[in-house]
């Protein structure tokens, strides 16, 4: 029997023992070494040969990932590891590090219970370290720390023992500050420490690692490491032999990460809002393999042979071929065609997968990343939070007519696989739009369309996505239905940032019980009365119903909401989405006859009122901005900071870190298009840089009109600003 086959069998044996399962993710800032580390673990488990680990990048399965050397999709792999005489099944998800792919990281976190955060010893905690930690902690996923590239401290930076110790402790304390800040309200302490064994150190490239327990076991201390690391290849080989990275890390995983039985009772309430006294809640807490099937898909991928594969976490029950399962948000059921687990980029079919595991199934044709799939109809899981919304759009057009249907299909598939991508299909013009997290994100998608699907496409210039937001409180305005028989009286005002944040974090939503929502909104600073009047929430906007006893309003509210949503999808300035607005419905006049207050009357009347109120509330165009960090040798500092300032940006901080200067600032996304090549030539390729979407900011007044007209022209809208409003 082949080695691989043996592992599969061993995995199957272990799947039934939730106590011995660890579902984990490895997450890090880009280039800190996730993929290299994952390969080490695979090699350690005998999945790939030890020699190739570190070069093979088995986790980077898609061709474009290997070409670019970045990880794009969260890939999945299962392996076994013996710790304290017990064999463990470790289901591992590798997550992308580039900010453009943030959505994948969040989704991966839903499937796991522990996150190994990898930090480069030289660079320390970086912006995305913070982002991935936040994503983990928000999902109730327990962190542990691995400080990587310690070989560089020894060989490149030639640090002595004290310097090195100080640097490592600084990294730990930075990471703990982050963890503490993010778990303030929790009753557990998830900070990491060397003494507890929740911190490991090492070199993924040279495949050695240590932790407090490993040092006690092997007798190898930092002194030995420095000596061996310095004595060239032979020393490294010895290190790798005597204290292999994979053992140290996998021991840490087995010892410190919770198994599903420990984790699910804590995680279920944070990711699911259903009735906690129901039977299904109980079987999810117990990880009951005999309970109803409850599966959450966290990733959808396409396999040329098997078709669409849904990967995700099975919280309860046992999933097997032939089952007919509900998919949240769709009618009817899907039939499971096959069930499998991942071994390196490949899927191995197995008979069945029980609760507590990560499964990869086919047949769920209606599922998207984030769907709840279950054997009974149930409250779906909380939608997976995306920290950043799409900020950039590109048009894609097939060059030949023959490719048209295939392109549409591919785009639909892309949208299904990656919810942070938004796709707008326009069959009339053939010019489709894809929106994503950044220039690179879209580049990767178009690359896939071209190379993987072989569709020859034209792509337009990237276009930045804007927002519209009121700046002050409006007067009361009227919206009238076309037939004049229905009238709505509405005001608009900006929502406070705290409330917007609470909505974005999912702390307040229409999906939760009313009382809970009220409390969350009050907590975020909303007036008590207001919180009781909340009628609807759409994106980060809220509608309050302040009317009393208006006849027929209840049955008309659905249409009012439709009109509201319409109006907010296409704001009054440039048909860009509205954000952070509070609307109050003060009064309404409705025709008594249902037929006179149908959708074609009420929707435009509400839409009209919402737009008028926004205009009177001084609605402005907002543009997306990014935090920018550049690490550069000091002689290029002037050039590098010039690249930020020259882009309507602002430099906030400059400081020395090691032998490099760090420049931190912000700049509009629009101006950041093409930054990559400009900064390279400005610094002769010596700068490393990182951007992170930082929300939207009001565009300066003197650019408003010009920008609005530019968007209106692009969208084929009338080239005039909406007329000011007649007030009540």
């Amino acid at each position: 029997m082949g080695r691989r086959k043996q592992i599969v069998q061993e995995c199957e044996r272990l799947m039934d023992k939730p106590e011995n399962i660890r579902n984990i993710a490895i997450a890090a800032h880009v280039d800190h070494g996730k993929t290299t580390l994952s390969d080490n673990l695979l090699a350690g488990a005998g999945m790939i040969s030890n020699e190739t680990a570190g070069q093979q990048l088995a986790m980077d399965t898609k061709e474009d990932e290997q070409e670019r050397g970045i990880t794009i999709d969260a890939a999945n792999v299962s392996m076994t590891h013996e710790y304290e005489d017990t064999n463990h099944l470790i289901n591992l998800i590798d997550t992308p590090g580039h900010v453009d792919f943030g959505g994948d990281v969040t989704r991966a976190m839903r499937a796991v219970d522990g996150a190994l955060v990898v930090v480069d010893a030289v660079e320390g905690a970086m912006p995305q370290t913070e982002t991935v930690l936040r994503q983990a902690l928000r999902e109730g996923v327990k962190p542990a720390l691995f400080i990587n590239k310690v070989d560089r401290l020894i060989n490149e930076l030639q640090e002595g023992p004290e310097e090195m110790q100080k640097r490592l402790l600084d990294v730990i304390s930075d990471v703990n500050d982050l963890i503490r800040g993010m778990t303030e309200e929790k009753d557990y302490d998830w900070t990491v420490s060397v003494e507890d064994g929740t911190v490991g150190f090492g070199s993924a490239l040279y495949k050695w690692g240590v932790s407090m327990p490993s040092m006690q076991r092997t007798g190898i201390d930092f002194g030995d490491i420095m000596e061996l690391e310095r004595s060239g290849e032979e020393g490294r080989d010895e290190l790798q032999e005597r204290t292999p990275l994979s053992d140290v890390v996998l021991d840490m995983v087995a010892e410190h990460f919770p198994n599903p039985v420990d984790a699910q009772p804590r995680r279920i309430p944070t990711v699911w809002r259903g009735d906690d006294e129901s039977e299904v809640a109980e079987s999810m807490r117990l990880v009951d393999e005999d309970g109803e099937v409850v599966f959450m898909s966290t990733d959808i991928s396409m396999d040329p042979h098997a078709g669409e594969i849904a990967t995700g976490r099975l919280f309860s029950g046992t999933i097997e071929k032939g089952q007919e399962l509900y998919v949240s948000g769709t009618a009817g059921k899907n039939r499971i065609q096959s069930v499998g687990i991942f071994m390196g980029g490949e899927r191995e079919e197995v008979e069945k997968v029980p609760a507590g595991n990560i499964a990869a199934v086919t047949g769920l044709k209606d599922a998207i990343a984030g769907s709840t799939v279950s054997s009974i109809e149930m409250t779906p899981f909380e939608s997976i939070e995306h920290i950043s919304e799409p900020v950039i759009t590109k048009s894609v057009e097939a060059k030949t007519m023959d490719d048209l249907p295939k392109l549409i299909k591919t785009l639909q598939q892309v949208a299904k696989e990656d919810p942070t991508i938004r796709v707008e299909i326009n069959e009339d013009t053939g010019e489709h739009l894809i929106s994503g997290q950044g220039e690179l994100h879209l580049e990767v998608i178009t690359h896939r369309i071209r190379d993987n699907q072989g569709i020859d496409v034209h792509t337009g210039e990237p276009i930045v996505v804007f927002r519209e937001q009121p700046q002050e409180k409006s007067r009361e305005v009227e919206g009238v239905s076309p037939n004049n028989h229905n009238k709505f009286y509405i005001t608009a005002e900006p929502l406070s940032q705290d409330i917007v944040d609470a909505i974005k974090l999912g702390e307040a939503s229409m999906d939760m019980p009313e009382l809970e929502r009220r409390e969350a909104l009050q907590e975020a600073g909303m007036d008590k009365d207001d919180s009781q009047n909340v009628e609807h929430m759409f994106k980060t906007n809220i509608l309050l119903d302040e009317t009393k006893g208006i006849q027929h309003l209840n049955e008309t509210m659905e249409l009012v909401i439709e009109g509201l949503e319409d109006a907010l999808e296409d704001g009054p300035l440039a048909a860009e989405p509205v954000q952070g607005a509070l609307f109050r419905l003060h009064d309404a006049k409705l025709h008594e006859d249902t037929i006179h207050r149908g959708p074609a009357q009420v929707i435009p009347a509400t839409r009209d009122a919402i737009h008028r109120s926004l205009i009177d509330a001084e609605v402005r165009l907002l543009e997306p901005i990014q935090d920018v960090r550049i690490d550069v040798p000091s002689e290029y500092m002037g050039n590098a900071s010039g690249e930020i300032q020259g882009r309507r940006g602002r430099v906030d901080d400059m400081y020395q870190e090691g032998d490099l200067m760090v420049i931190e600032g912000i700049a509009p996304v629009e101006e950041m298009i093409g930054f990559s090549s400009d900064i390279r030539s400005a610094t002769e390729g010596r700068a490393s840089w990182n951007t992170e979407n930082a929300g939207f900011r009001v565009l300066v007044d003197n650019l408003q009109t010009e920008q609005i007209m530019e968007i209106r022209e692009r969208k084929g809208m009338k080239l005039e600003l909406p007329p000011s409003v007649d007030y009540i």
Binding site: H591, I595, H596, G598, A600, I603
Partner: protein, 237 residues
């Protein structure tokens, strides 16, 4: 005279269809009754009620016109009270007519409007006459097909609904238009036959008419509704 019917008639497709069906059923319709409303009427067709005269001439049935005076619908707060007030002149006119003829009932073109139908039914009950409402609760799709099948030629006079733009003014309500309305119905909920005042029509020709009516008009558009202004209307030679 015995058993005479009165057709509540505007010249629009629905009241015309009710009349046509009544004639087909052999009812003796001896009067067309039209109410000239003020602006903003809740219950009656506002545009171009004058057209009713030409239609009556073409149909060959005597027209009775009711001038209700100022109903002040524009300031109406309560639409129910308003609807009742509008009914008064109509009821008065019918009471007068009943002295002249042996009134059996009225025909009306309501399809889905409870508001309109229940009030007219109430009036009929008070007068002790019947209501003939052959469109009531019929499937709009089928009705549209029947009207076109029968040879009704219909022009759109006025639109007031999301999704209906200026291009609909003066447009014939033919099979193509119905098809488009079907799409607008799916997208915006526009009523296929314009119930609820979403569009108003005028029948320019039909099996019950002797001569076609030719229209000349300008269009007027405000915001999200509009109407045509008839500049000339005459019976074709």
């Amino acid at each position: 005279m015995t058993d005479t019917w009165v057709s509540l008639f505007s010249g629009g497709k629905d009241s015309s269809w009710a009349l046509y069906r009544a004639l087909e059923e052999g009812l003796d319709v001896s009067r067309l009754l039209t109410v000239h409303p003020s602006e903003e009427s809740y219950m009656y067709h506002v545009p171009e009620t004058q057209l009713a005269r030409l239609a009556a001439e073409s149909i060959g049935i005597e027209l009775v016109e009711v001038e209700p005076g100022d109903l002040a619908a524009a300031e109406a707060v309560d639409s129910a009270a308003q609807g009742d007030a509008e009914l008064e002149p109509l009821e008065a006119a019918l009471t007068d007519l009943a002295e002249e003829v042996d009134l059996a009932g009225v025909t009306a073109g309501a399809i889905e409007s409870e508001f309109q139908t229940s009030r007219i039914q109430g009036m009929c009950d008070r007068l002790g006459i019947d209501l003939f409402a052959p469109l009531w609760q019929r499937d709009p799709d089928e009705l549209a097909a029947e009207m076109l099948e029968a040879g009704f030629e219909i022009t759109i006079l006025q639109v007031a609904a999301y999704g209906l733009d200026e291009s609909w003014l003066g447009r014939p309500l033919d099979a193509e238009a119905i098809e488009e309305l079907r799409e607008l119905n799916a997208e915006y909920g526009v009523h296929l036959l314009g119930e609820g005042g979403e569009f108003e029509t005028f029948v320019t020709n039909g099996p019950h008419m002797d001569r076609r009516i030719d229209l000349e008009y300008d269009t007027e558009w405000h915001g999200d509704s509009g109407r045509i202004r008839i500049t000339d209307a005459r019976l074709a030679e």
